[in-house]
């Protein structure tokens, strides 16, 4: 299958390419050629593409340690997308909206968003500084280590916050409750940005929950066996 045709079918795959650090000019390459060129296993690439295409989470083969290192890179790249692209974009739309309209709810909405934004940043920092380094050490270690870890994959899973839930709140407030007159262009841009973010966050947590955490847990088991 040609990568360009897949993108035509589902443009969201561009986001995936970016997270894999693959250039958008995919020429006439097939998925297999693309993976070879970028040193990504086809198994991993297809599993994640299936998530973007809503095709479920079942992988054909178990992931190798190399795959998992790439998953971490992938997740780090998506953090970059949230941190320096999507959230600032949404933030500026909300700011603009607040400036255009006198409704006091919008001041509160901006405050709500800013607090939420801070929370998200804290969560991303936590993953970057604590969770990912832990996984990287885990993956690099050979199987014979008996050291006690202060941290575990399960703990990482439990640390998942309500990032997605607050985003839903924001969407519901704008769709159902807060009255804003006109300004449809700005509001549509805001909605699209929120939906894009929601979609990618959803995939992000699917990857963590169905790929990274189970793999981490099984490596831990191996080491403690």
């Amino acid at each position: 299958m040609k990568m360009a045709d897949l993108i035509d079918d589902n443009p969201n795959l561009l986001l995936m390419l970016q997270h894999f650090n693959i250039d958008f000019r995919v020429s006439d390459q097939t998925v297999s050629q693309l993976c070879t060129n970028y040193g990504i296993s086809e198994n991993l690439f297809i599993s994640i593409a299936n998530l973007y295409n809503s095709l479920g989470t079942k992988a054909q083969h178990p992931y190798t340690r190399d795959d998992l290192m790439q998953v971490i890179d992938f997740l780090k790249h998506s953090h970059h997308y949230y941190r320096s692209d999507k959230y600032p974009q949404i933030s500026s739309y909300i700011r603009q909206l607040q400036e255009n309209h006198s409704a006091k709810e919008l001041k509160l909405l901006e405050k709500f968003f800013n607090e939420y934004f801070t929370e998200v940043m804290e969560h991303l920092d936590y993953e970057d500084n604590i969770a990912f380094p832990y996984f990287i050490t885990l993956l690099k270690k050979s199987g014979d280590s008996g050291e006690q870890e202060l941290y575990s994959s399960v703990e990482y899973g439990e640390h998942h916050t309500d990032i997605e839930l607050k985003l839903k709140d924001l969407k519901h407030l704008l769709l159902k409750y807060v009255k804003i007159e006109n300004d449809l262009d700005l509001r549509r841009r805001l909605f699209f940005a929120l939906y894009e973010l929601e979609f990618d966050l959803y995939i992000h947590s699917l990857i963590e929950e169905t790929i990274l955490i189970p793999a981490g847990v099984s490596i831990e088991k191996e080491q403690h066996a």
Partner: protein, 200 residues
């Protein structure tokens, strides 16, 4: 969105009257489905599976069964009842919303019924507009928005913490909003609390 067809049940043992009404209704502009029933028991059964909007009834069917009828009406508040006025029972019974006689023109009967339908729909719309928060839920929400803890809300409303938690769950279910700051914005948009009362 296309509006769903109107479900009308006719409770009238006389086949001639029943079929007459049915013909009038089917030939009118009302987009309706008609269910024929002969007893109150059949009505109860029907209500379990079909969202009946209007019941057309021979009021004699209600005689000595007022209690049961009230119970049904309480259980299905969206059901309206049109009585057929046979001239025997003069005053409009409290159990029907309106009545018509068999000598009324077909047009009049259809008008009466579509009026009932409209009333129903606007009542339902009104209800939807405040997302169906009950008085109690609004009280709990007000406490929440003012920064009260569950315990404080429970004390001031004289209910258990457990009940406060249940109300909070229902509020979230009805509004789709989970966080406290989100609920604050909801409460202001709905004018449940005044923005002046909130510290920004």
């Amino acid at each position: 969105m296309r509006k769903p067809s109107l479900h009308i049940a006719i409770l009238e043992p006389s086949r001639i009257i029943c079929e007459g009404l049915q013909t009038v209704l089917y030939q009118s502009d009302l987009d309706c489905r008609i269910h024929r029933i002969e007893t109150l028991e059949e009505l109860t059964e029907l209500l379990e599976t079909v969202p009946v909007d209007i019941l057309i009834t021979n009021p004699l069917q209600f005689v000595n069964r007022e209690k049961e009828v009230r119970k049904i009406r309480k259980q299905y508040p969206s059901l309206s009842v049109a009585g057929i006025d046979y001239g025997i029972i003069q005053k409009q019974s409290m159990l029907t919303d309106l009545s018509f006689t068999l000598y009324d023109s077909a047009e009049h009967i259809v008008n009466v019924l579509s009026k009932l339908d409209k009333q129903n729909r606007s009542a339902a719309l009104q209800k939807n507009e405040d997302d169906n928060l009950t008085k109690r839920e609004i009280e709990v929400l007000t406490g929440l928005v003012n920064g009260q803890m569950n315990k404080e809300i429970a004390d001031s409303l004289n209910i258990s913490i457990h009940t406060v938690v249940r109300h909070r769950k229902n509020i979230t279910m009805k509004t789709g909003i989970r966080s406290q700051s989100g609920l604050t914005i909801y409460a202001i948009s709905k004018k449940i609390v005044a923005i002046e009362d909130i510290e920004i």
